[in-house]
Amino acid sequence: MSSISRQRVPMALGVATLAATVLALPLAPTACAAQDAPTDTIVYVDGGARKTRAGVVIDSATYDEVKFKAGGRSSTMSGTQILEIQWGDAPREYGPAWRSLNARDGEAARRNFDACLGALAAGVVERDWVKEYANIGLGEAYLMLAAQDSANLSKASAAFELGLKANAKSLLLDRALKGLAEAALAAKKGPDALKHADRLLGEGKKARRPSWELDAYFLRAKVHTAGGNASGASQAYADAERLAAQQAGSAKNPADRTRFESIRRTAAAAGGWVLLDTALASKSSADFDKARLFFQGLPAKFGKVPEILSAVENAMGVIKLSGGDAHAALEHFQKSEVLYFSVSSEVARSLYYQAQAWDQLGDTEQKGARIRDLKQYYPKSEWARKVN
């Protein structure tokens, strides 16, 4: 059993001494320094399995290929295999920055990415990848912060552009272009947003990344929806559905097939919501009929799976609700909640609309109870954000 006394000074001094020594070294790499230089790790997919290759030094990384040295030998890996790069010389704020983004803490993310860029400027980090990755991350951070202050939108765009300028064929190109599109959309610059979406589509084709193309289609749909262009949105969803179907058909492994099938269903349902939103805006019975028929046709086309069936029930409920039949609407929403409880996005939607239906019926207690459930069990859903 080790002693646990407080004699820590020598150790601390040792670390400080080492740090001082490191800092005193010339910045130009020497043979000794090269041996001591941090190495990178490539996380990639090979034969459907996730693998890592550590101890490499990456020379360049684009969506086409990643060039690296390992054991003195140069190698390349196809960009399409790459899942992630773990940079060995990443500033200490780098990991926390991405985690902050995942945790939706925009301010912490911004701070950390700024620190990363600061480290680059100070020469603590030498390689340019920081400029690319940190700027793209910074762009996403600003995008998050734009919810509180729209002045951050232009900062977001600027950061994304800087990231792409550092590497026009970045492995994170999709994130940058999506970010640019979102920023433009939020700034009510629809045409600009569409341009970015289209660029993503083109790059996706070039980079042989169907997921980028799918993202692009969803972005287009979003832009068209925001612009009131229902047919454009519908077309975009249809394009996404078609592409996802193709990819599902040609997928080599079951996981990919399942994933593309799910995207296909999501795209299909999203197309239906576009029609329904149009109907809600126009209040035209023809539009409602169109939306209703669309949703009712989904199970036959995509199978009676919870994702589809729950969306159908919710859609029918919305149609009934808009027609003033709150009781009938409730039945649909309740089916979505009770029978398809595994589809959390639709359950959240169901709870939101149940509250609306109870409100229409004048039952504040039931309305309040549904809102409480929505906030307690689905706090991060867009529907919970709507009631907040």
Partner: protein, 1081 residues
Amino acid sequence: MRHLLLTAARRLAAPLFPDLDPLVNPAKFASAPGRDYDSAPFRPVSAGTPGRASGRSTAATTQGASGQRRDSGRHVPGTHFDEVRMSHRTPILRAGSLSKGLALAGLLLFAGFGHAEDDDFEFAQALAGRGYSDLAEEQFQKILSDPKRKASEKAEGTYGLALLKRRDAVLAAREEREKLRKKLGDVLAIFQQAEDSLASFITGNPTHARILEAKLDRSKLISERAEYINKSIRNGWVPGDVTEADLRKQVAEGFDTSIDLLKALEDPARSKLERCSPGTPEYRTAEDELGLVWLSRIAALYGKGAALPPGDTSGIAALNQVLAEIDEFMWLFDGTVRGLWAFHYSGLANWKLDKPKDAMRDIRDAATALTEGDGVPAGRPITMMSYDYMATIAIDAANRHGDEYIGTALKAFDKLPSAWPSFMEDRFGQMAALAHARVLDHTGRSDEAISLVQKVIKKAKENTTYMDRPAGTVLGEMLSHGGSGADLDPALLKTIAKSKWSDADYSGAIRAYQSVIQASTGDSKRMNDFGWDAWDMIGRCYGLQERWYEAYLAFDMIEQGFMSDQTNEKLIEMTDETGFSRAATIDQLARRTTDKARAKHYADLSKRLVEEFTERHPNSPRNVGADLAKAAGILKEAKQLLRAGDTAAAQSKFSAAQSELKSIDRTSTSIDLVDAQSIECDFYLARMSKDAAKMNAAVDGFIKWLAVQRKPVVDSGVRRARATGKNLCLVSLLKGYALIPDMTADAPAKKVAYADLIKAIDKWGAQFLDVVSRGQLTLDQWRVEALIGTGEVSKADELASKNIRESPESVNGPFLAAIVANALEKEAKVRLEKGDTTGYQNLMLRCARLREYAVLEPAKRKGVTPSPGAFVSLGNTFREAGDFAKAEEYLRLAQAGYVAAGNEDQARALLVELIGLLIDQGKFAEAITDLEALLVPVEADRAGILERLGRDDQLTNVEVKKMTQTKMSKNRRVLDVLSRAYLQAARDDKDLVRCINLCGLLRFAHPKDEKHDVKYIEYTVRLASAYFKFGVDYGQPDAFKNVVKLIQNGIVTPGLLETYGERVPGSKQKLTELLNASKNR
């Protein structure tokens, strides 16, 4: 989602102030020589272990037993080695095996024998620690009121009661459930009461053996209060009439006060140590004391630093001071359990100062310094708590700085099983395991994390550590964001769901049962074992929330399952009932829908569903044949008539139903249910006629039905009929037993009936609970009534208290409290009759508290104020119990209530009662002056009248008539209270004579038809007492003659004295004593 886990983890993690007792609190254990506690070095200093401290420990080794002064001027420990052991004073209360019976038996055992005062005190503390606050209070009161004990020993009772108040404060502060949480102001008031009690003990007993403990408790209480305020700010529990800024100020001030109080203890302790020679027993004692106080202050400093907002300069200063002091602390206490605590706080302080590297280093040291093989059980809790905090710190550091600390934490956790092989056996180790799971989940190893959490749940249930609930919460959060690959155990998930169901958290239960279904889908065995039942429970949960359509959907899922596989035995059996529920829920919806068209739609649907049910499940007992239908219909009508209060018609209907039932063919598949229902008719008939013999016969009938050995059958209809019949018999027989005592007039027979009820509950209770949802409340109510009926009032009290404690929102609580209070009052009067005034007061105090709850709680739930009459009742009860402060509080509330209601007379009358309280408290002069003013409002007349009343007892008829005709005599209550005041004050002979005259007037003016009632008896006793006292104090032999005349001649009717004793407890004894004493004068 990680953030949620962190939040959940913070709730799970050790409280900010880990309980230093009994690990580092030697005062409790070292108050007598020869105790086997020490300051717990856990390795021999002479061993000279390697590591960071090797240099110093080697130096210590070479210094030998006497120790030497270092250059720093501090002593080093001598080379003693002892093992820390837990106190051996709580062997009768083992975790997990305590039963109420044991506790009571222990209580009785200790009550019957003389033993060291420490035993009683610690026994009471152990009771409190197990949640038996009422028994603990009783024990402390015994200590306090024991005439055989010295003042210092009695003072322990006061200290113990103060600790109970502290416990109440801490429990109130820890409660976070919205429905049970008290308001901020109310909790702070409890803290204040606790602090006042402790301060009072400290001030009143400055040299008591437990004074150090008390001072430490007080400072800890103040810190806990500050921490509670901080938590309230964090959780947004701040009421509108106070600002956050004010509360933050209170937080800082609270911690500062605590720290200052501890410093005031520490300085003399330090000086004392420096005066002692190392290695001596005095040195060890002084070192113990210093270590304890110093560590407490370090904990308070940390508390302050952690509570204040990040960046707050005084908070940062406090944390830095923690680190500086720990450096010093370790010179003395390195290698001890206290040293572990110090490292723990060092880790926490570094964490709060955002120094993750140092934080992880220290907390990991605290976690890994000890192993199970070292044989230091006192180090187990701090070790496991350190593991828990290590996870928290590592995750927090990973989110803000980098993942390196996660790796460190994981390495340490990997070694935990080998370091502490039995770590999962208690709640501390299970907490460490959950911490490990959190780290795994953070690194994306959700499947492993979920497996580990499931292991914790299983172990927690096996060992009853109650960690299954927090673990269930963690599991739920993990499942919501990942872990789809984890092999979820539906049995474990079911237990989580069941506990949410028991807590009436139906929304939570629904989600938990959904996870059971997810874990069972795709596996037909699991669906049969767990999945279909889960759908059933989901339906019931929705039903309890009155979400009828949702309930219908859940039952419909089962029905659809049955329709797709009609050979599934499980579904065949289930749907005999759930098929009915499916229709019943829509029926409910139809009744509750106000929209007519919609209601008709549901009614039509319900009809269709009933038809489907009849067609699909013909053997269900719910689907009775035509002959049964008629009998069932008559029975239903009979019950409706009874509910409506038409007893005569109901009796007739029950008889008719019984005839119909008896005419049913014996070959019917539902014959078992028919027989049970026939006995049920006997039950109702007996109930309506209040005939105990008939009810006994019905109960016997149910028991015989249950005793019949029936051959197993395949036919589900027969099985369902038997099941329904069995449930009916179980429930009804217990109801019958519960009704019989009320039907029995003869007291001994009533007592036997209550005893039979208890036996029946013991025998059939478990089965009853399987049938009746929330049946425990009913059983407890019956048991309480039965215990009272059999004279076991203290057991009834204990059960009622448990009921109230565990189900605070139950409607039963106030009712049980009221009946137990009444029973206690009766028992108190018996004690008084026997001359046991102490016992009387203790019981009355308990009665008062219960009555208080019984009165205030229902009013609180309804949001209304109790009536003035209720307050008067409470005031009088507390007065009888000797709690005059409470009595005054309630009488004043009553007075205010009467004033608000415009009832001036009653309000004025209460004034007299309030003055009466002055008398009870010995404030005679004040009371008498006020009462005399009330008696003779006109000041000019007062002196003369009082002079006459005090001159002699020879009031003339004229004088008496005049007095009885004045307003004065009409105010009988004033006369009553004043005469009592004169007697108790007895400042001079005039007081006694006035008492005599007033009693005489009261007796004279007493209504003839109420002669010998309670008041008359009281006047008589008082009069006799006044004469007797006059005779004794002023040497007046005539006075004794008057006593004899009054009693012997006045109470001549045989048995009248007995009656006096029954009506006014103690009066017979008192009058007999006075008579005998007077005769001998």
